[in-house]
Amino acid sequence: MPLSPGTFSPERPDFLHFMAIHMASTNEHTHEKPHLGPNTADKLFLAFLVLIVIAVTWLGVVNYQEALKTEAAKSNGEAWVAWLTETGTTRFEADTQHPACKGGVKPAADAKAGTPGTWGACLAYILETTELKDQVNAFFNKPPHFVAACDPKDRTLMGAILLEDLMPTPPGSATPFVASQLVEADPIDYKMQLRLSVCDKGGYAIKVAEFEF
């Protein structure tokens, strides 16, 4: 048969490859018996392999810990959503438990942050009296802050909270609503549709929920 071990393509195990291996295997028996146990090179390789596995595991753990920080940011966001949703169901009642966030109280047109009926007053109340004041942004070990937008270029925003007011657009519009950051001077006297997101490690927004407040 006109086949030789040198004629095969190393890219794929084709016919000639099989023949070459077969012929090589038949020839091998005639050679002197090599040292069979792991030699120094094999041991070095095994040590290197162990090191690599340790390194990848360590990097995996680092990644996991970073992911846990994102999870903590998400938990912070979920706690805010839970509180705001729950309050949203009762804040229009006369005897609401959280008067600073009471609905139906129209602030003055030129209201400033802290004026009753604004988001600023409600936020100050939340950060003073509720369990949300103890939240920690795991990325910086500081309380999470509210931002206007998440930005991948600004890594100081990791773990920050983005609270947006979703304003419905007129029927027939291309987009159903327009989102704008809920700032402290914004009135909260009406039933609001909000969206809460948190900024992840990469600086991208992770939507936690859309809810009524």
Binding site: H22, L36, F45, V56, L59, N63, K201
Partner: protein, 547 residues
């Protein structure tokens, strides 16, 4: 290879199905006792064509399914809404595993391993495999009697993975046997590179890597779905780290043992050559994003890096020949394709320039410059026609009509070239297989090793039994024709080496004649009526070694 063994198939009793390993009709006597009959069909590993392999395969799938089920049970967002389905799947799995256990218990007296023992079934129950099988189902029944903590129960259910050892242990034993007397590096090579020494273990290794490639690519795709990523983010991070650890170990093993591969000899240069090999480079690309993400996340966009992980899908091309054929075809047809591409580019630039010329005045915002017009020309030539930019002037419209018609032809040229080149390549490879079959069948029989080669080639070229049958028929016919019609003398005379071989064959035939014929009678017949001259007779005697 030419020594005839009991496994050899001769041309007269050639059975292509058995050569291709597709003789799936198990030959089991219907009149066997029930237990023996059941064992033969379901569990006997020595009867080709029975359901033993299928059974093992489906049990393995079920074990892997259980592993995934266990993993998702830890994600409340997935588990809670589908709790009933998870429980149903668990019950189904336990039912199947229990049936398997009971079946093995009942059929133990037929098993080669236990049949010679005094208490075959006790032998089975106390065997390691049976203990593993028992542990896989026991917690499920145990919880009916004893309140077990859910976490403990889940951990105990993990023991089901041990059932995979039923497949793994025989494969490891086979691998050890195949690699007896080989060095550590040769064993690593046998595991990661296809060779005659790999056996089932190498196949399992490839499947394992393939499964992880698919899993990690699916994870990358699902990560882009925000709602899924929100729930499974941590799981995706863990999965990615495990996948990278596996791929990194695989990469190191390939780089270490590649020097055993013919064509990659040399501790340094061989490995450099291996590293430059496209498939190894793909392996490197598969793990690179993970390390870049860890070290350079503050410099590089993470989303870009994550999408880059999709390159892992290319790892699957190692198991397929299609990519190599595609590259080969493109390289071979490159001069013609290059010419077609050049004409295409020429037409494109010309059309874009004319479009700009005719349309700029009418629509300066759309045909703003020639590069913008090139976009319009490509979309029109490729018959895509988004319609976001369209001509409005009569000249522009006339030109677009011509352009659209030309586009069909121009864009079809490379496609047709590639299609015909692919077809040519397939014909070539089949011709090659035919030539190889011709070489194999020259000695009139097919050995086990040769059958393995035919099997591998048929699998690579996706040939059916009928197609291989047809090829073998053609080869046998050609073989017979060659035997009947040897080369004419003038053709042999053209090649001195062939002439010498022909002379040797003729001398051999004369000697054979001398051995078989009665010497005295031959001499008598030769001398009668001067059938042979004295010189001819002397030459005969010389050839027979009598002179």
């Amino acid at each position: 290879m030419n020594t005839t063994t009991k496994h050899d198939k001769f041309l007269e009793d050639l059975d292509v199905k058995s050569i291709l390993g597709q003789d799936e009709d198990a030959n089991i006597d219907r009149h066997l006792p029930m237990r023996k009959w059941l064992y033969s069909w379901l569990l006997d590993p020595n009867i080709p064509g029975n359901f033993q392999k299928e059974l093992d395969k489906w049990i393995s799938y079920l074990i892997i399914g259980n592993l995934f089920s266990l993993m998702f049970e830890h994600v409340p967002a997935v588990y809670e809404p589908y709790r009933t389905w998870f429980e149903m799947f668990d019950i189904f799995s336990v039912a199947v595993f229990t049936i398997e256990y009971v079946l093995r218990f009942y059929l133990a007296p037929e098993d080669e391993e236990f049949k010679n023992r005094k208490h075959a079934r006790f032998g089975f129950v106390s065997s390691p495999f049976a203990i593993i099988d028992f542990l896989a189902v026991a917690p499920f029944y145990l919880k009916a009697f004893i309140p077990i903590d859910l976490r403990v129960l889940r951990f105990l259910r993990l023991l089901r993975i041990l059932k995979l050892f039923r497949v793994l242990i025989p494969a490891i034993a086979e691998f050890k046997e195949l690699n007896q007397g080989r060095t550590f590096r040769q064993k690593v090579h046998a595991l990661v590179f296809p060779s005659n020494y790999g056996g089932t273990m190498q196949h399992i290794f490839e499947v394992f890597i393939g499964v992880w490639v698919i899993l990690s690519v699916m994870a990358v795709i699902l990560e882009s779905v925000k709602s899924i990523n929100y729930i499974l983010h941590l799981q995706f991070v863990i999965l990615d780290a495990v996948a990278v650890a596996i791929f990194t170990v695989e990469y190191c093993m390939r780089m270490y043992s590649c020097v055993e591969e013919p064509g990659y000899k040399g501790a340094f240069l061989g490995r450099v050559r291996q590293a430059k090999n496209p498939s190894t480079f793909i392996d490197f690309l598969a793990i690179l994003p993970f390390f870049l993400e860890v070290f350079l996340h503050h410099l590089i966009d993470l989303r870009f890096l994550r999408v880059f992980r999709l390159a892992r899908l290319l790892k699957l091309t190692r198991g397929s020949d299609a990519t190599a054929v595609l590259v080969k075809v493109v390289v071979r047809e490159w001069p013609v394709m290059g010419a077609a591409t050049f004409i295409m580019m020429l037409l494109l630039v010309l059309t874009a320039s004319l479009g700009y010329l005719f349309e700029y005045d009418a629509q300066p915002e759309k045909f703003e410059n020639i590069p913008t017009s090139i976009y319009w020309a490509v979309i029109t030539l490729a018959s895509v026609g988004y319609g976001d930019i369209s001509p409005v002037t009569p000249m522009g419209r006339a030109m677009t009509s011509v352009l659209a018609l030309l586009g069909i032809g121009i864009f079809a040229i490379p496609a047709a070239l590639l299609a015909s080149a692919f077809s040519d390549e397939l014909v070539k490879e089949r011709d090659q297989l035919k030539a190889n079959l011709f070489a194999i069948l020259k000695d009139g029989h097919i050995s086990e090793a040769e059958a393995a080669i035919i099997r591998a080639e048929a699998k690579r070229l996706h040939l059916t039994v009928e197609e291989v049958n047809k090829l073998i028929e053609v080869v046998i016919k050609e073989h017979e024709l060659e035997e009947r019609n040897p080369l004419p003398i003038h053709k042999i005379a053209e090649n001195p080496a062939l002439a010498v071989e022909h002379y040797k064959v003729l001398l051999g035939q004369i000697r054979q004649l001398g051995v078989q014929v009665d010497g005295a009678k031959f001499d008598e017949a030769a001398q009668t009526a001067d059938r042979l001259s004295s010189n001819e007779l002397t030459l005969w005697h010389k050839i027979q070694g009598k002179a």
